[in-house]
Amino acid sequence: MLSKRIIACLDVRDGHVVKGVNFEQLRTAGDPAELAARYNAEGIDELVILDITATLERRRALADTIRSVARELFIPLAVGGGIRTEADAEAAVEAGADKVSLNTAALADPSLITTLARRYGSQAVIVAVDAKRDGDGFAVYARSGQATANRDAVDWAREAEDRGAGEILLTSIDRDGTKVGFDCVLTADVSRAVSIPVIASGGAGTLDHFVEVFTRGCADAALAASIFHYAETSARGLKEHLRQRGIPVRL
């Protein structure tokens, strides 16, 4: 049986790993290459580098960060946050990214998904969907949660799949950094609506939150940042817990 993946996320700003709450209040959590090596040794299944650098000049450092993280890493590496054009994707792939994650740029120009899927294959294209509860549904937000995209999360995930996305990285803005648990309703709604894998993100605080998102939430993978950065748990500890609860994992 296909294992449920545990993915560690490195939110990188100006070459350092940082983490916030509800997409704000950032604090520093360490060097990306050092953290990546530690997670790899602990048996993480995949890594995501999310570049949250504000300015274009500083963003050039992203390729260096990707290279330093990828150097000794033999597991999949995804990069997102600063991918706005085909050239940005090319720079990330050449630096060592296996997948690029599109968010605001895909909302502004959905044909970018198809362009990159044709060039690198769908397996290399993740569409990141940042969603917030809105009545009975979930609304998509762009620009790091700053602007409403006037899209329904389920509809947008379906469209992304149709346009060639290979995976959906689904983040609950309401839960991001809160440690109160993943939004399992959001995750299950999107996961059931598409046939590509859905990575759940936002809200991981305890080991049982991961059990919930893999059962009730129907997630194919789960992503977390703070829970690993501050060594509250290791990937191995988490996976041992999941295995005891009957969730298929790689140990």
Partner: protein, 212 residues
């Protein structure tokens, strides 16, 4: 001991080169088919569409087949492994190398939400098959020296090769499919050894030894 890494525009070669470098092998990317003559072995990587192999053309194909005919080892990775077979329903008008018998075909997704395991995990089959899955060894082969049955490796694909006598290891995603094939010095892996941690590096090391 130069090993040729064939570039036909299907995906990025960086991570394959990096992983081979980690096991002490230096790969070169031949610019013309003639440059393959110098290679002790050939690696065909690849992600994407079976039709992408068309970019290689007759001259590359005949050169690769000639080197293989002389006994030089060949490793196909992912799409590169499917190319070892006769063809694929992904691109019916595009022939494979025909070094192994059989046609590649698409995995079938389960349509609605699947039944759940006793622990509440939905058994739905999503396509593409993305992630870490176990490989069960069917027989001994040099490529899997030191690899335990049940080891997990990283897959990302929608099409598969059939389980035939060439299958060394089998994985399953709704149905069984060939995860590793080997016949003499011709071998293929459906997963990405360059992204499969220590297990993947062991397999690459075994191929480098085969290449001498």
């Amino acid at each position: 001991m130069p090993i040729a890494l064939i570039d036909y525009g299907a995906g990025n070669l960086t991570s394959v080169r990096k992983a081979f470098a980690a096991v002490g092998a230096d790969l070169f990317v031949p610019a013309t088919p003639a440059e393959v003559d110098d290679a002790t072995a050939v690696v065909v990587p690849g992600v994407g569409h079976f039709g992408a192999t068309r970019a290689l053309g007759e001259e590359w194909v005949s050169t690769i087949l000639a080197r293989v005919g002389e006994g030089r080892p060949l490793l196909g990775i992912c799409l590169g492994m499917q190319w070892l077979f006769e063809g694929s329903e992904e691109a019916p008008d595009c022939a494979g190398l025909g070094l192994m018998a059989g046609q590649c075909y698409r995995l079938r997704p389960s349509t609605s939400s699947g039944p759940r395991t006793p622990d509440g995990v939905e058994r739905r089959i999503k396509i593409p098959h993305v992630g870490w899955n176990a490989i069960e060894l069917r027989r001994d082969a040099s490529l899997v020296d030191g690899v335990p049955s049940g080891a997990q490796v990283y897959f990302t694909h929608s099409f598969v090769a059939p389980v035939t006598g060439d299958a060394v290891a089998v994985s399953e995603h709704g149905e069984p499919f060939a995860a590793i094939v080997q016949r003499g010095h011709v071998a293929g892996v459906q997963f990405h050894p360059e992204k499969s941690g220590e297990v993947g590096l062991t397999i690459l090391r075994n191929f480098v030894e085969l290449a001498g």
